[in-house]
Amino acid sequence: MTDLAGLSSVLGTWYDFRDLNNLQRLITEWIADWGPDWLASIITGVLGALGILGVIGPTLLILIWVERKVIARFQQRYGPNRVGPKGLLQPVADAVKLILKEQLAPRAADKLIFFLPPVLIFIPGVLIWGVLPFGPRMSVADLNVGVLFLLAVSGTAVLVIFMAGWSSNNKYALLGAMRAVAMSISYEVPMVLALLTLVVFSGTMSINGIVQWQQQEDVIFILLFPLSAIAFFFAASAELNRTPADISEAESEIVAGYHTEYSGMRFGLFYAVELGNTLVVSAFIATFFLGGWWLWGLDQWVPSWIILLAKTGAVYFLLIWTRGTLPRLRVDQLMGFCWKALVPATLLFVVVAFVQRTLLISEGWDTTVALPIMAVFNIALSLGAIMLFARVARPAPLRRPARIRMAGADIGGLRAAREVAARREEPQLQVGGD
């Protein structure tokens, strides 16, 4: 795309916002004319990092507003609408307030470990932005083992959470940290398996490679492996500590979980990281399962990073929606759901991916015909698996329906209760059950 033969083509690429990488390339080549190689590398790295942080910082402030506004609409409220136009400056006001607020540290805390987590927890969240492709070549680092890098880095966040919970010397924090560890390690498995499905099918561990495979085959992975996508979505929302899996900071049970003791800007950083992680996970879900920066040729006309951001926004809205609607699961139910439903389901689709991929390679089928057939087959298989697991993994108390009967003329104690229960008429209200 970049041909630096003459000034006109330089200008042509300069104004080509479809891929901001062109800009970076120009700078690199300009430096290469007079400076050493490492300088160019460092400067591009710094530019990339500044670009990422320049995206994250303002986006976080807007996202806080978006999330509060959207949740408010779900709840028939207005949401923030006082500070700035439409309340847009509310997050800024909050940030200023948090910075100016007293920061307390409990006497009993393990001070060193207590002070580190607010900073450390940012690192995995920011680092995985580095492997996210915003365009065909537009990522800070296009690793050939991007998927592994993503899993490895995101797995370290739980250590920081445990540091925070343990060092606070607070029982709610400890409970929250314990829950976070148990849940994170459990949900790591379906996440890995869901990504393995994609790696098997596309034959590459590069994240950009996975997007390019989807572009090449004109198909998005959510159609090919819907159950893996659902599993990844749920596992990701569990790793993010968002409802219905926010047990590690369940406010109605353990107040604020692992960050109970943090106040002022330290709490603010935890809060920001949560939103930032939600954004980056939405972006990865969009990349892996919705085609990332590619959208059936539209990426030729619209800058690819805008397409990615639009898809990210859609996934993010879905995450807000689940948060605004669903109650929270219990810790044992979450674990059970992971090990008894998500792990077998994703494992099943790893097998399916292996078989289908081998068929494609060895039989040399035309992918334009084979892929739609496989998609239909996989969607049917997913529905079947969901129905099967709903039966097998459903807890015993839920198999009976809950019934409300009308007492009618029988008013009284145990005898009347027996009479009401023995009546054969239809219950007034019957919900649930098999």
Partner: protein
């Protein structure tokens, strides 16, 4: 419509198993305090009375004696019976606990203990409920604000509020001649230690 259960019939049921444990005065059933729990158990288990539900349990300070009032309800037969018991010992009033008969008596008896100072023997967890341990006196007694040991009118502040609101230490209580009916402060006043929680 809930009917009043006949007190005489109830008396006969109780007296059939424990003669002399119950009597009727002006249409109200009075039970002997010593055998109260057993008498009420009899009323609960009898098929005629079937008083399975303890609706209400409270006490009234009649200055010369305490009157324990129980409202017992039969759900299936839909009648209610008011049962009373009198204790005249004001210094250490005690009577058997109903917790073995009705699990629901648990909290109500604690409340009566807290506010009247009536001990329920056999209660598994008889502690103050609304007021903190060491609160001087029992507020719902009619002589509460004329208690000996009360340094001034009104209630003292919470223990943590300030020094001058701190509670009278047993030794510092001005010694006055006590009325025989007044509770003895020595056994009752406990200085709030350190700053335990106020419940």
């Amino acid at each position: 419509m809930t009917t009043q259960y006949d007190a005489t019939a109830a008396m006969e049921i109780v007296n059939a198993s424990a003669p002399g444990a119950a009597c009727v005065d002006e249409g109200v059933l009075y039970l002997e305090p010593d055998t109260l729990a057993d008498s009420i158990r009899t009323l609960r288990d009898s098929d005629q009375s079937d008083l399975v539900f303890l609706s209400n349990l409270t006490a009234v300070d009649h200055e010369l004696h305490f009157e324990l009032v129980y409202h017992l309800q039969s759900l299936d037969l839909n009648h209610i019976l008011q049962v009373k018991a009198r204790i005249s010992d004001r210094e250490d009033p005690a009577l058997p606990s109903l917790t073995g008969v009705y699990h629901g008596a648990h909290l109500q008896e604690r409340e009566v203990f807290d506010l009247f100072g009536i001990r329920f023997e056999g209660h598994p967890d008889l502690r103050r409920m609304f007021l903190w341990d060491g609160f001087p006196g029992y507020p719902l007694r009619k002589d509460f604000l004329q208690m000996p040991g009360q340094v001034r009118a009104g209630l003292p502040g919470f223990p943590h509020e300030s020094e001058e609101n701190a509670w009278p230490v047993p030794g510092s209580v001005p010694q006055r001649p006590l009325h025989p009916n007044d509770p003895q402060p020595e056994g009752e006043i406990v200085v709030a230690e350190e700053s335990e929680d106020p419940s």
